[in-house]
């Protein structure tokens, strides 16, 4: 069989040989062994359905052989395909061995033919697809699209809880500030004491404690409250020291003080 193949290949026309040489030079241009097989199959000038897979296998093996002779590096998958095609060839040529398992040579050949036809089909379709009118080349979209103006309306929202928490935050903020007295509305006992010490000398008679309130502290209720408290505390201090006497006629009646008689 091997001789026969050699014989056949020797009988190839010069042009076929040249084509085969060209294939070899171009080996990098192939998209894998299936692509190469498809290209080789074209030399058979038949419908892919009626292709002689045996002949194709021989063409391929001859190709690989030549490449080897020319010391061309072939990618591993080309060599895997060559080994497989050699196996296929033997299956196709030898009478089927009933003891052998697996698909028959014809089944394998039929599938290879199918693969080639399918690949060719895809190539033709790709060509038809690319030959179609294309957007931006043969037909066109709107050149001046009026973009949908996105009116982004932001609605802000808050819940009653947010509102209350916000308010609580502000109103309680004061509670956390460092403790300081608001002096302007507060009269301390020391202040009252100093003041009363100066004034007490004139109080020979019972005098209403409230009359000792400093000017400007009588009207504002907060100031008044503070001044009254401070004066009262101061007068208690003075009484304790024996400088004055204190009396009150009844519950809630005016508190009166006078200087202790010498």
């Amino acid at each position: 069989m091997a001789e026969q193949t050699e014989f056949q290949s020797d009988e190839q026309s010069v042009s076929e040989r040249m084509a085969a040489e060209a294939l070899i030079i171009d080996v990098d241009g192939y998209e894998g062994p299936l692509d190469l097989l498809l290209t080789l199959s074209r030399t058979q000038k038949v419908d892919l359905r009626t292709i002689s897979v045996l002949e194709l296998a021989e063409q391929y093996l001859a190709f690989v052989e030549r490449a080897r002779r020319l010391r061309l590096e072939l990618a591993a998958d080309y060599l895997v395909m060559a080994a497989w095609l050699a196996f296929l060839k033997s299956r196709l040529l030898l009478p089927p061995d009933p003891s052998e398992e697996g698909p028959s040579g014809e089944e394998l050949a039929a599938h290879l033919a199918f693969q080639l036809e399918r690949l060719q089909g895809m190539r033709d379709s790709a060509a038809q697809l690319m030959a179609r009118d294309q957007l931006g080349r043969d037909f066109f979209g709107r050149g001046l699209p009026e973009d949908v103006t996105r009116v982004r309306r932001v609605t802000y929202t808050a819940t009653l809880l947010d509102l209350m928490q916000g308010y609580a935050r502000i109103r309680t903020k004061d509670e956390f500030r460092p403790f300081t007295m608001d002096r302007d509305a507060v009269m301390t006992m020391e202040q009252a004491l100093d003041r009363m010490r100066g004034l007490i000398g004139y109080a020979g008679d019972w005098t209403d404690l409230t009359s000792y309130l400093p000017e400007g502290w009588e009207t504002d209720p907060a100031k008044r409250r503070s001044a009254v408290a401070a004066n009262f505390a101061a007068s208690l201090e003075l009484a304790k020291a024996g400088a004055i006497e204190i009396r009150q006629g009844e519950m809630f009646a005016p508190i009166q003080i006078r200087r202790t008689a010498e």
Partner: protein, 219 residues
């Protein structure tokens, strides 16, 4: 026929203007696909020799009368544009809901609890100045509006909350806002202020809102 004549004749047939209907189609396609308005000169430069873009435009313009788009003149050029009455279709409103900023919430809360309240008062209560943007935002949202001017020197404007505000928060009136005591019992206030240090509402609030409000904060 001489060769020269033949060539001439071929030339003429090649360059004969297409029928007006065809020219109208061409103008339509060019105007549609162009990124900018196209002048008559430009149209004719792109159309076959002898074409009359001006006439084609008259037909085309008529064809689009009353349609969703129109052929309009822009300077000395032409374009296809959306019919003005359908402009609203070109707007896609995306509503984005955002949480009100902390500053806005606090300002709003002060206005709600203290209304009518001046800007100076808001600032005094918050302890920081109130940005114009915050107030504007609340006004724009129609949650606050100007109240009557305060009868004090400078006659400052006051702010009050609106019906929209009440509707949004499901309140019948601003008086329905819970007081601090309620906030506290609802667990919204963590700390208990030391007794006696509770600052009262601003004493200069002589308006009706000031009463009642003070109650809110009495403990």
């Amino acid at each position: 026929m001489s060769d020269a004549e033949q060539v001439h004749g071929q030339e003429e047939s090649l360059f004969e203007a297409p029928p007006m209907g065809e020219q109208e189609r061409m103008v339509e396609a060019i105007l549609f696909a162009s990124a900018e308005p196209v002048t008559v000169t430009e149209l004719e430069a792109r159309m076959p020799h002898g074409a009359d873009a001006r006439e084609a435009l008259v037909y085309l313009r008529k064809r689009y009368e009353g349609r969703g788009v129109q052929v309009v003149k822009v300077g000395d050029a032409w374009a296809i544009r959306t019919a003005p009455d359908l402009g609203y279709l070109m707007q896609k409103e995306t509503v984005e809901t955002r949480k009100l900023s902390r500053a806005a919430i606090e300002t709003l809360a002060i206005i709600a609890y203290h209304q009518p309240v001046t800007r100076a008062e808001i600032e005094e209560i918050r302890g920081v100045s109130v940005s114009r943007g915050t107030v504007d935002q609340l006004i724009e949202m129609e949650w606050i509006r100007f109240g009557r001017r305060r009868m004090t020197p400078g006659r400052p404007v006051t702010f009050v909350v609106t019906q929209t505000f009440l509707d949004h928060f499901g309140l019948e009136s601003a008086r329905d806002l819970p007081g601090l005591k309620e906030l506290r019992s609802a667990g919204l206030l963590e700390s208990r202020p030391p007794p006696g240090l509770m600052p009262g509402p601003d004493s200069e609030d002589e308006d009706e809102a000031s009463e009642g409000q003070s109650e809110l904060f009495e403990d």
